[in-house]
Amino acid sequence: MIEVKDIVKRYGATVAVNHVSFNVGKGEILGFLGPNGAGKSTTLKILTCYIVADSGSVSVQGHDVLEDSLEVRKCIGYLPESTPLYSEMRVVDYLRFAAKARQVAPSQIASAIDRVVNAVKIERMLKKNVGHLSKGYRQRVGLAQALIHDPPILILDEPTSGLDPHQIIEIRELLRDLGRSKLVLFSSHILQEISAICSRIIIIKDGRLVADGTPTSLQAQAADVEACRACIDGPEPIVKERLGQGAGVRSVEVVAHRGSFNVYKVRATKGMDLGRNLYRIVSENGWGLSSLEPDSQSLEDVYLQLTQSKPPALSAAAAAG
């Protein structure tokens, strides 16, 4: 349904999207994951015909985004980041406008509005001004306008940002439902969200595609790394520094505090006897140790591993605005 081939987008000297290619088919829920400013929004803007890539090609349901942009836009329901809506309009008027602008036949408009209003549960808000809605309801109105023409493809840029946990769960459930009949593509910088509902994950960093696969296959990518959790009582900066010098250690982070003890998560290359090394370092320094246990590699580890090697290009985020 969506074929992206080798797209590049530059903003001045910054490369926001750097030779990204992927294909997505029907019935997939594709999560676009990456740190802020990685080029997620820029890629989505190219797919939705808001901007044009400098090179490469994108086709959506067989229509090229440059030559057949209107057809592409007809089959996509899009909700940009931060949910821009006309705040002076009433919800019902806004949905009517969206229905007409998205080419819903006049006779179908009333039923289309009913359908999306039920789907996102905004019955009680119809007569209110969009500008007076809470953030959660705003987001739902944004989803409603994206769904009004019953598009085969739904593209959402950070649909859950700024929502409270209940709202996030509701939106996730809605996306999971929609994913049964549509291709849903959404971006997020929150890993849990993506791993909770996506059938496939694409990780982007500094404009490059660094990983593409199902949550399970990505987890397998972390197979060459092992991790330990150690609960240590000692001066934090020194503990971090000494543990970091251990054989094969890639990263050390504090994940919890328990009284004077800190829980450190240490990742190292597999086969370097991490547990034994950690114990040796702790005893050599005379720190207290209350527990030391192996830690399973989660998706989060893969993500951190793939995206942490250097700080993301902030200028790309600023340019992508």
Partner: protein, 243 residues
């Protein structure tokens, strides 16, 4: 055309649900009223006529029309709604045209309200209705040119104040270069320069309308070609944003 109509209706409702249209209409009527009573000094004229009252249209438009057009694109760019609008299956010229027509409608409503002046004057003295009608045709066309310019300027920036000020300056210059003293001064610098630039000036063309002359070949061509040029420019700016 259905799409133009959809966007047009949204724009119109946006003008009239916010105070902007009402403020514009009031400001316009007040400024023109001041012209009528003080500058034109209607009641002190030996031979009452409305020519200098109508003569105030180009300058008043230049000062106030940017307040109507500044929001057309800048507001949407700032709020991000442009992204949603331009990713809907709409052609960019449809959006450009709809926005232009919505601004035009606000001016049309205002012009209709200013009819109270010639109508009430007609109660006191006999008016040459031909001149009144041609003046209104001229004002309507002039407004179209100014709105097209204001809208194109607004497409360049996401800051409404910048759009307002730049459009004001441009329209003021456009008014100025058609003004006879300016034309003469420019002709003195380089013969023909003043007249050449003067063709683009709004006031020189408008002069004929308030004299009651409808020059199809010149003044209408001027108005429609200026509108077309700036609407096309507007469309180019909107499309260019993609790159």
């Amino acid at each position: 055309m259905r799409n133009v109509c959809t966007i047009y209706r949204r724009e119109i409702s946006s003008y009239f649900t916010s105070p902007i249209a009402y403020i514009f209409i009031c400001a316009f009527l007040v400024v023109m009223g001041v012209f009528f009573f003080f500058y034109n000094a209607f009641f002190q004229q030996a031979n009452p006529e409305l020519r200098s009252y109508f003569g105030a249209f180009p300058l008043t438009f230049a000062l106030l029309i940017p307040a109507v057009t500044m929001r057309l694109w800048s507001e949407e760019r700032k709020a991000g709604t442009l992204e949603l609008l331009m990713t809907m299956p709409l052609k960019s010229w449809e959006v450009v045209l709809a926005k232009f027509l919505s601004g035009y409608t606000v001016i049309l409503v205002t012009l209709i309200l200013t009819l109270t002046v010639p109508l009430s004057v007609a109660l006191v003295v006999p008016l040459d209705w031909g001149v009144v009608i041609s003046s209104y045709i001229g004002a309507f066309l002039l407004a179209g040119v100014y709105i097209a310019i204001g809208s194109a300027v607004s497409a360049f920036t996401d800051n409404q104040i910048v759009a307002l000020l730049v459009a004001m300056v441009l329209l003021f210059i456009l008014w100025g270069i058609g003004f006879p003293p300016v034309t003469r001064a420019l002709d003195n610098i380089w013969d023909g320069l003043g007249r050449a630039l003067g063709w683009f000036g709004s006031s020189s063309h408008f002069e004929y309308f308030i004299k009651g002359q409808l020059n199809w070949g010149v003044d209408f061509v001027y108005a429609f070609s200026m509108m077309a040029f700036f609407l096309i420019l507007n469309n180019i700016v909107v499309e260019w944003r993609k790159f």
